[in-house]
Structures are given as C-alpha cells and as structure tokens.
C-alpha cells in the first residue's frame, strides 16, 4: 500500500537505532537527575572517534569502543563540572555541543581531509538471526541488522529491568526525584549522578559509532545532524520510560523515513492521511485498555478527535500538497512541545532534574 511497505519498516528501524542509543542513555541520566543537552555533541564525538579508531586499528570492535570512550569522556566532563563542581547542567551541555563540533571538525581536518581525499572503512556486516529473520514485515527490519544495533534493542528490556526491578534502579530514580531520601539511605547522590552522566555519554558515543562504523563507513563534519536533539525529544515523548522511549524513537524514525520516501512523490498519498487518522484511535484505545475509560481526560479526547477528523477530511479530499521536508523534520520537536503542554496525556519530568545536589552536611559548612 503506497509508501507503507516492508522496506519502509526496515528504514524506520535503521533510522531509529542511533537515536535509541542516545535516548536510552539520556533516559537513565535524567532519571538520576542530570539533564544532558550535550547529547548531540557526545554523539558527534562518538561518531568521529569510532571512525578514527576503526580506521587506525582496522578493528571494528576497537572502533566501537573508541566511540564509547569518546562519548563517555564528554560524559565525564559533564559529571565533573555539573555533579562535582555544581555548574549549571544546561550551560555545560551547550558548551559540550560547541566543544564537540570544534574538536571533531578540527581533528577531521588535521587527520583526514587536509590531503583532499576522505578515507573510508568497511562498515560492520549484517548479522542475521536465524529463524526470526523470516518473520513477515518485521523480520528483516529487526533481525537483519549489524551486531551493534542488537545491543541498542537489548538495552531496552535491560534498562527497564534495572530501573524498575533492582535496588540500583530505585536509587537512580530516587536521585532524580528526591535526592535527600537517597542520601539519607546512605547512598551518595553525587556518585549515582556521575554514573548517570557517564552512561549517557557512553551510550551517545555508541549512537555515534552506529552512524560511522555501524552504517556509513565514513565520517562527515556535523554528521550527527540533530539526532542528539531528537533523542532528547524522544526521552520526553517517551515520558521517561524505557518502552516509551523505544516507541518514541520508532515514531521519530518513522517520520524521518516517511519524509525520505515522500520526497519522490508529487503529493502526499492518501495512505498517509489514513495513518494519521488511525494514530489517535490507537492511542486512545491503548489508554482505555491501560487505565479504563473513566481516566481519560476530556482534553485528550478532543485533541484526538480533532486529529482524527483532520485525517479523515484529508484522506477524503486527498489534496495535492507537498509538505516541505523541513516541516517533516520539525515534527519530533513539535510533538515534544505538544506532549509537554499536556495536550496528549501527562508528561512529568523527574522532579530534581537539573538541580545541583549538595548534601546537607556540605550545605551547613
């Protein structure tokens, strides 16, 4: 049916994977109380240094580790300056983004492009999961990927388990919600947040490695291209929950894939409007199943109904519009604002996110 076919699903999953890495890192970091706007820079750093390591050592594994280390290095800067030194998380994040653009562009120029030709490496080979790869629709999309991609998807249940079923998870969530309680129980909030910052950096670095070593095999200046920001949006759209974040990444990846697909079309085909129509129905059905029909706010119903009607009208009329790609690319950010404004359900940030923590003992001195 028009643009919706198996190859679109493959493209969606492919585009979602690097974002998922960064978003899962950011999820844990924000849950521990550190908001990391430097995600974009950490991804870019990971992309460059994983390429550099893979190029220098001819080992893809070392390349991936290089990306991990490069991201974690910026994560450590984040930890040192915000958690230990008490600097403003937002400002340090902005600084990290600028720093990473400078470092990668400068190093790329010095090491690779000054000679004129851009080197490349052989990216990772796909690893098919026997059996599962033959599943209809999702088989090739989810089970014919590079090994690194599987790590991203395996991280979703892993992070869910750690956050909600272990002591460590309780401590992480506590540091972001009510750090005094964590400190009182004898766990150092600062060390928890340090780990959160490092984890976010490392994961964003892996997301960057996914772009170079895991996919293209070359590094281009500014190649993270806003994916770090989309990951930030995905954490909010996913309401700070692992499965939600996975869903958000797939939705944003889907918007991206659809945009690429529709560039070839002269106008938006009817199927897109039908899907737009179906989304609010599915969301509301999910909400009914989850929390019962009485718990659904009227504002949600009105908003969902409006989207449904708009989709219906557009599907019937099928106007000859071509939405400029920039508007498609805006979607993740607009959706994030809509979600935050509470038009679609409720989104609540971890309560203590963004605040420097000083233990009571340190405050009194």
């Amino acid at each position: 049916m028009g643009p919706f076919d198996t190859s679109l699903v493959i493209a969606v999953v492919g585009l979602a994977t690097p974002i998922l890495f960064a978003a899962l890192g950011e999820l844990v970091s924000q849950r521990s109380g550190v908001i990391n706007i430097g995600l974009e820079g950490m991804m870019l750093n990971g992309a460059f240094f994983s390429f550099w390591a893979a190029h220098a050592t001819h080992s893809l594994l070392l390349g991936v580790l290089g990306g991990l280390a490069a991201g974690a290095f910026l994560g450590a800067i984040m930890g040192a300056l915000t958690v230990s030194a008490g600097g403003d998380q937002i400002v340090v994040g902005v600084g990290i983004n600028i720093l990473a653009v400078g470092i990668t562009t400068f190093a790329n120029e010095q090491l690779f492009t000054s000679g004129g030709n851009q080197p490349s490496i052989e990216p990772m080979a796909h690893l098919q999961i026997p059996g599962l790869v033959h599943l209809p629709v999702i088989g090739k999309a989810f089970f014919d990927r590079v090994p690194l991609a599987y790590i991203a998807y395996l991280m979703v249940p892993l992070i869910w388990y750690v956050l909600y079923r272990t002591n460590l998870g309780l401590v992480i969530r506590g540091s972001g919600e009510y750090p005094d309680a964590v400190e009182t129980s004898g766990v150092s909030v600062k060390s928890v947040r340090w780990c959160g910052a490092l984890f976010a950096g490392g994961m964003a670095g892996l997301g960057g490695a996914m772009l170079t070593v895991g996919n293209l095999g070359v590094f281009n200046e500014l190649m993270s291209g806003g994916r770090g920001f989309i990951a930030l949006a995905a954490v909010i759209f996913g309401r700070w929950r692992p499965v939600g974040v996975l869903g958000a990444c797939l939705v944003f990846g889907g918007a991206d894939a659809l945009e690429l697909r529709l560039q070839a079309e002269s106008s938006i085909p009817r199927q897109v409007w039908v899907v737009l129509m179906l989304i609010p129905l599915l969301v509301i059905a999910y909400m009914v199943v989850r929390s019962g029909i009485r718990r659904i706010a009227r504002a949600d119903l009105i908003f969902g109904g409006a989207v449904f009607l708009a989709g219906l009208v557009l599907a019937v009329v099928e106007p000859s519009w071509r939405v400029p790609s920039e508007f498609w690319l805006m979607l993740p950010y607009v959706i994030t604002l809509v979600v935050l404004a509470g038009l679609v359900g409720r989104a609540r940030m971890p309560a203590a996110v963004g605040l420097p923590y000083r233990s009571a003992a340190a405050l009194d001195s």
Binding site: L81, A85, V94, G95, I98, E326, F327, V334, L340, A341
Partner: protein, 370 residues
C-alpha cells in the same frame, strides 16, 4: 550622593572578575596548547590572532561589529536569568526576529527614518513573540521553559531553512539566501567606516537600559526578587508567573534586537540559513563570563568577538582551521559554568538564595512556577 560601598559586595565582585579572567586565560592557554600540539608555530598564531582582532581599522571595526549582537544576546540571557528563567532559545529568537525583519525590510518601502525603526521593531517583535510561545507554555501549561525554548530553536532553524530555499529565496533560486534588504532598512555606516554601522549605539543604550531597569525601577526589583526568592516574592504579592513570562518575552525582544544588528548592518543585508551562527549560544557564554552583570557583557562580548575575528585571520595566515575557535569557545563556556561555584565555595561565600530555597523545597525544575 555617594552610595556606600559594601565590602562583601566588593569582595565578591573582585572575586567574580578574577575568576572570569582566570577562565579566559586558562581557555586561551588550552587553545594555544592545541595549536602547538598540532605542530603550528605559536608566535605566528598569536600575532595573526592579535592582528585579525584588533590591528588596523577594518579588523577593529569588524570586531566591534561582532561585539554588538553578542552584547545584546548576553543581555537577553540576563533579563530572563535574573527572573529565575532560563532562556536557551536566544538562538531561535534571533532567527525568527531575522525573519520578521527581512519581511518588513523587503516588502515595506519607506525612507530611512521610518523604514529602519520599523524593521528593527519587527525584529524585536518577532523575537519577543517567539519567546512568548515558550513563556505562554510555561505560564499556562507548566512546560519547562528550558526544554520549550530549546525545541523552539530547532524548529526556528528548520523554518528559516525552508524560507530561504522557498518563499523568501532570491529571484534566481541559485543560493539559499533572501534578496538583499534595501539600504533604507539598514543601519547606516558609522562615520563612514566600512565595517561598522550605527547599531553600535545599541550597546551603550541596551546596557544602560537593562542595568537601569533591573536596579532602579520597581519592575526590575520585582524581577530580581522573583529570581532570587520566588517564595518571598509571592508572599508580597508579586505574580511570579507574570514576571517570569514578561522576562522571557523581554529577553526575546533583546534577542530580536541582536538579530537586527546581525541582519541590518552593512555586512549583512540578507537572510541566510545560518545567519545567527551560534550568536544566541555565544550570548549565554557572554553572560556567564560577565557573571550576569549587564556592564560586564561588554568586555566579555569583546573577547568572544575577538576570538571569532582573530580566528579568521589565523586561518588565512597560519592555516589553522577556524574550528579551533569553537574548541576554545566551548572550553570557555564549560569552565565559566563551573568556575563560579568552585570559586565561591573555595572562598566560603554563601551561595545564592535561589539555590538554597530550591534545596529546601524539592520541586526543582519541574515546579517552574514556584
């Protein structure tokens, strides 16, 4: 009448200045170390940098011209920050201010005396309205203004890309750029200088206006009180939501003014995809280094302007890519963000009331209407 100088204040002020100077010195030193490590001559780099930034009428003009939007962006941050609001959307507000200014500049025809003020007002209005979106979301829907302004940046950047490749593109449709704005809507040259225009006047006017409003008016007092102790402000009947929203809108207006300087100076004149080129984020760095003092923005902005302009000549003369300027710049931002707390803790000066009240009332960023 002479105001009595408070010794604690004086000590704190001296400490702030010393910290900022140390941050700058350390960052420049780190940048220089990278230069040496990459195998470039240090002496030639320093002299090219100095010449590019300050030596000769044209270099100096360009450095001063770059200083103007940096000061205004720094002031934009300060106005919001003093009310306890974080506006990381200055970049986006500059972009939208640039769009509205371009529209008025291109499609309104009037003599300079009318056209220029109209275009500048359009820029301010665009920035203010765009900040107003975040302010409204914050005040009415409780949306964290940091996330909102940040997302609005990304939306604005895409919107400008769309405009300069679509509706506002120049007639041959070759370049992603708007037609050139008529001279009647541009800042006239400053005493016939090539690289400097009359928007230079915005620096003293802007600094004085912001400093005076913050420290000598009731509105400014309310604003500072809201920022420093929202609880107390509410108790004396100040509407914390309104003050916060107004401060964000004012901040956006100043960002729009920065856009007018970038777009309508003698060197600009047309809307481009990246005409804001990080000036909004640089404004944050300027304010940080200035320790949120309006007057302090001037030397801080001058430094960043020198970095940008000096870096250009270093590239052409020594061959070091200007991305090294970004590296140095990033280091300044990061160190400046952390140094305040380190320095104050080291000197055992009490931290600000805002942090204390936030610590006592866990609610943090989420409870933005505190």
């Amino acid at each position: 009448m002479m105001a009595r100088i408070d010794p604690v204040r004086l000590r704190r002020g001296a400490l702030d200045v010393a910290t900022s100077v140390a941050v700058v010195a350390l960052s420049l030193l780190l940048g220089l170390l990278i230069v040496i490590a990459a195998g470039y001559p240090a002496g030639a780099t320093i002299s090219a940098f100095w010449n590019g930034a300050f030596v000769g009428s044209l270099s100096l003009d360009q450095t001063l011209e770059t200083t103007i939007p940096l000061v205004l962006a720094g002031l934009a941050w300060i106005v919001a920050f003093r009310a306890g609001r974080i506006n990381v959307g200055i970049e986006g507000q500059i972009l939208v201010g640039g769009v509205t200014a371009t529209v008025v500049g291109l499609y309104v025809h009037a003599p300079l005396g009318i056209h220029l003020p109209l275009t500048v007002l359009a820029a301010m209005g665009g920035g203010a309205v765009y900040a107003g979106v975040a302010a409204a979301l914050w005040a009415w829907r409780g949306v964290n203004e940091i996330i909102a302004t940040f997302m609005l940046n990304l939306i604005a950047a895409l919107f400008v890309t769309y405009l300069v490749t679509g509706p506002l593109q120049e007639s041959t449709h070759q370049q992603p750029i708007s037609p050139t704005i008529a001279n009647s809507a541009r800042w006239p040259a400053f005493f016939g200088q090539l690289g400097l225009s009359w928007d230079l006047a915005l620096v003293p006017v802007g600094v004085a206006l912001v400093a005076w409003t913050l420290h000598r008016t009731t509105a400014g007092f309310r604003l500072r009180m809201t920022g420093e102790n929202p609880e107390a402000a509410r108790h004396v009947g100040v509407s914390v939501g309104r003050v916060g929203a107004v401060s964000l809108v004012a901040s956006g207006g100043l960002a729009g003014l920065a856009a007018s300087s970038l777009l309508l100076s003698s060197q600009g004149g047309a809307l481009q995809q990246d005409f804001s080129s990080n000036f909004g984020f640089s404004g944050i760095a300027v304010a940080l280094l200035a320790r949120n003092s309006p007057i302090g923005c001037v030397p801080a902005a001058l430094l960043f302007a020198a970095l940008r302009e000096g870096g250009g000549l270093v590239e052409t003369e020594v061959g070091i890519d200007t991305s090294l300027v970004d590296v140095t710049f990033g280091i300044v931002v990061i160190l400046a963000a952390a140094s305040l707390y380190v320095a104050r803790r080291r000197w055992r000066l009490s931290e600000s009331l805002r942090l204390r009240s936030l610590r006592r009332h866990p609610g943090g960023l989420t409870d933005t209407r505190l």
